[in-house]
């Protein structure tokens, strides 16, 4: 049983460098596991998903980028604000000549790059539309949508479209669109997952972001701890290493038993490395305590020494499933 029954929109954010795009992709694959069809959306024009899945650049047309075990599929979409604006004008207003005139005087440019909040309404609006879209049989086209959202520093403002737009467009269609998006984002059908590392700054940003999201009444999903390192030392050795009390003679004897060079310099280097490792493990323990206080489901993903390639995304997806994410 998944932790997220009934959630149709999964938003994934995280501080820059924490691997939020990788986690979003793994989550999409995990959710696709039971033969489901999942849409994975990116909005930052970085082509991060194309790099990750090793496929050609994504654009405004949704297409299959990966298959999951059990017949599931992940489709990819890169939302471009300009295209969203054109689509929006065409669908909702049937603006022919006027739309071209708007484009000519720079209105589309204005709406997509400059007008406060409008860009975000367009980007989230397309995601919203995909979340609700039904096929001719009346079934949802996608079982869930995963949004690779902007980083933690900007995500609350990005999602809180209503606040930024309603003060501007107090009535009219943009206002209605923003209101509809807001009702989805504030409902239990949405979950915002925050990706972090076990380091000071990302953890602080995670704590701050979750507080902001709660204040904006946007449902917080899981905390995903990415790039978790395997501890090499047990508790006793950790303590000794931290205090600089690892027995050099014991280490030397081990090196010798392993038929390795065992000079004093080598032993000392291993001891220094152990002390640094212990210091890091301490910092990680403190980080875990701060994250634990958030009281959210927490998933751990390991650091992949060889980097992330399409195969690795499948492995991470499997780990997310095992931990209850899908």
């Amino acid at each position: 049983m998944s932790d997220w029954e009934g959630v149709r929109l999964h938003v994934v954010t995280g501080k820059g460098g924490t691997g939020k795009t990788t986690v979003a992709a793994a989550l999409a694959l995990a959710l696709a596991g039971d033969g489901h069809k999942i849409l994975l959306v990116e909005v930052e024009e970085r082509q991060g998903l194309a790099h990750l899945f090793d496929v050609g650049p994504l654009d405004y047309t949704e297409r299959r980028i990966a298959s999951a075990p059990g017949g599931g599929e992940v489709h990819g979409l890169a939302v471009d604000a300009r295209e969203a604006m054109h689509e929006y004008l065409a669908i909702f207003y049937r603006l022919g000549r006027a739309a071209r005139a708007l484009d000519k005087v720079g209105f589309v440019e204005f709406a997509t790059t400059i007008a406060p909040g409008l860009r975000d309404v367009l980007l989230t609006g397309k995601t919203y539309e995909a979340t609700r879209r039904k096929d001719p049989q009346g079934e949802f086209q996608y079982d869930a949508v995963v949004l690779d959202a902007p980083p933690t520093g900007r995500v609350t403002r990005f999602l809180d479209v209503n606040t930024s737009v309603s003060s501007l467009a107090r009535v009219g269609p943009i206002h209605r669109q923003a209101t509809a998006i807001t009702s989805l984002l504030h409902s239990p059908r949405t979950a915002v997952h925050v990706v972090t590392l076990l380091e000071d700054m990302p953890v602080q940003e995670t704590v701050d972001t979750i507080e902001e999201l709660r204040q904006a009444r946007i449902p917080v999903g899981a905390v995903v701890i990415n790039q978790v390192r395997q501890p090499h030392l047990d508790d006793v050795h950790q303590q000794a290493a931290r205090a600089g009390e690892l027995d050099p003679e014991l280490i030397r004897a081990g090196l010798s038993a392993a038929a390795l060079p065992d000079s004093a310099a080598i032993v000392e280097r291993l001891r220094v490395e152990a002390a640094e490792h212990a210091e890091r493990l301490d910092a990680e323990r403190a980080a875990r305590a701060s994250l634990g206080a958030l009281d959210r489901p927490t998933y751990n993903l390991p650091r992949l020494p060889e980097g992330v390639d399409p195969t690795a995304v499948y492995e991470l997806a499997e780990m997310l499933r095992e931990q209850g994410a899908a």
Partner: protein
């Protein structure tokens, strides 16, 4: 290994000691340690006798505290606890983008007009939430600090943009928007030039405003129009200011330091940035490659360490040494990976000087931590 290219060394002390260096801009993608690098460079320069101000955009709390920044008040404060020789000084500030925008408005119009503009809903949204405002205001603040002439070195951190390039493009975009055709059009047809042009424009104007009213609602359009009319005298000013600051960035007194971590995304961004700087004739000082795992000379190699650990694990009895060997092998693997990432960058940009900053076990939270980063920046080859 002889094929691996080695970048020239980025001599950080030479850069910060050079009295002709007056502006250092730290740029790069999010999460690579940009703000920390800016703060460490500023501290080091001050402790070597420069009068420095560090302009940070959105510092992590601990880092802000390390510099004695407890409030966002948009003006530089002296950083306590530094040990500078005669003449050396370090001030630091956090950018308040709305406040900076307000000041620009106040400086360029009558108090009454300024009040109207500041109260306008469209202005309020523009000045506090538009994604490019932060970049524009960072540039604006840089220009202001430079004009005050109180410091002989300004170190600027750049906003956490979607792309590092936004920092260069957003001011121009906002400037040309505020100064451009659309906003003139929104201000009403009378603003749009000569008589013949006006007659031609009137028809188009009706189509456009009609469509915009339909899309945005009449209220927003009215707010924009009021805003534009209140701005009146400031037109031209925005683009001009953006252009001035852009020109400052191209002068030899400015140095760009591109910051990256040894990861594909961060290095890709760094590459774009390096290319862009050279296209625009902007002075690139070098690349600071942060969080490098280091591999000291001599010792036990990675494969040797793994084989040794396996041997000990099979026979049992030397758990500690086996664990230390595993740890050692991990570190060597990380070091090799980071070195390859750096080599790839060097191959693509052989002329860009690089300094490599080793990964620290814990994050920076005080001035000593920043000093340590400064030392590493200056010695990293």
């Amino acid at each position: 290994m002889s094929a691996a290219r080695r970048s020239p060394r980025f001599d950080v002390d030479h850069l910060i000691d050079d009295p002709r260096t007056h502006v250092i801009v730290c740029c790069g993608s999010g999460g690579v340690g940009k703000t920390t690098t800016a703060a460490a460079l500023g501290l080091r320069a001050a402790e070597r006798g420069r009068q420095v101000v560090v302009l940070t955009i959105d510092p992590a709390r601990r880092l802000a505290q390390a510099m004695g920044l407890t409030e966002l008040d948009n003006s530089p404060r002296e950083v306590p606890g530094i040990t500078a020789p005669e003449g050396g000084r370090l001030d630091a500030m956090m950018l308040d983008m709305k406040r900076t925008f307000d000041e620009v408005v106040e400086a360029h119009t009558t108090p009454e007009r300024a009040r109207q503009i500041l109260a306008n809903p469209f202005y309020q949204a523009l000045s506090s939430s538009f994604a490019g405002t932060q970049e524009y205001m960072a540039m604006e603040k840089l220009g202001q600090l430079r004009r005050r002439g109180q410091w002989d070195l300004i170190v600027v951190d750049t906003p956490p943009s979607r792309s590092a390039l936004d920092f260069l493009d957003a001011p121009e975009r906002l400037g040309s928007f505020l100064d451009g055709r659309l906003i003139r059009l929104l201000g009403g047809p009378v603003r749009a030039g000569g008589r013949a042009y006006r007659a031609f424009f009137q028809a188009g104007f009706n189509v456009v405003t009609g469509a915009m009213t339909k899309v945005l609602g009449g209220d927003l359009l009215k707010d924009v129009q009021t805003f534009v009319n209140a701005l009146d005298t400031m037109f031209g000013g925005f683009r001009e200011r953006a252009e001035q600051t852009y020109a400052l960035l191209q002068r030899p007194e400015t140095a760009f330091v591109v910051v990256a971590a040894p990861e594909p995304d961060a290095l890709r961004e760094a590459s774009y940035f390096v290319d862009r700087l050279s296209e625009d004739g902007m002075p690139l000082a070098g690349l600071a490659l942060n969080r490098i795992h280091q591999d000291g000379p001599g010792g036990i190699g990675e494969e040797q360490a793994i084989a040794g650990a396996e041997r000990l694990e099979a026979t049992g009895g030397h758990d500690l040494t086996a664990a230390l060997l595993r740890l050692h092998a991990d570190r060597l693997a990380a070091a090799a990976r980071d070195r390859r990432a750096g080599d790839r960058f060097a191959a693509a940009h052989p002329d860009v000087p690089v300094t490599r900053v080793p990964a620290l076990a814990v994050d920076v939270s005080d001035l000593d931590g920043l000093r340590q980063i400064g030392d590493l920046l200056s010695t990293g080859g």
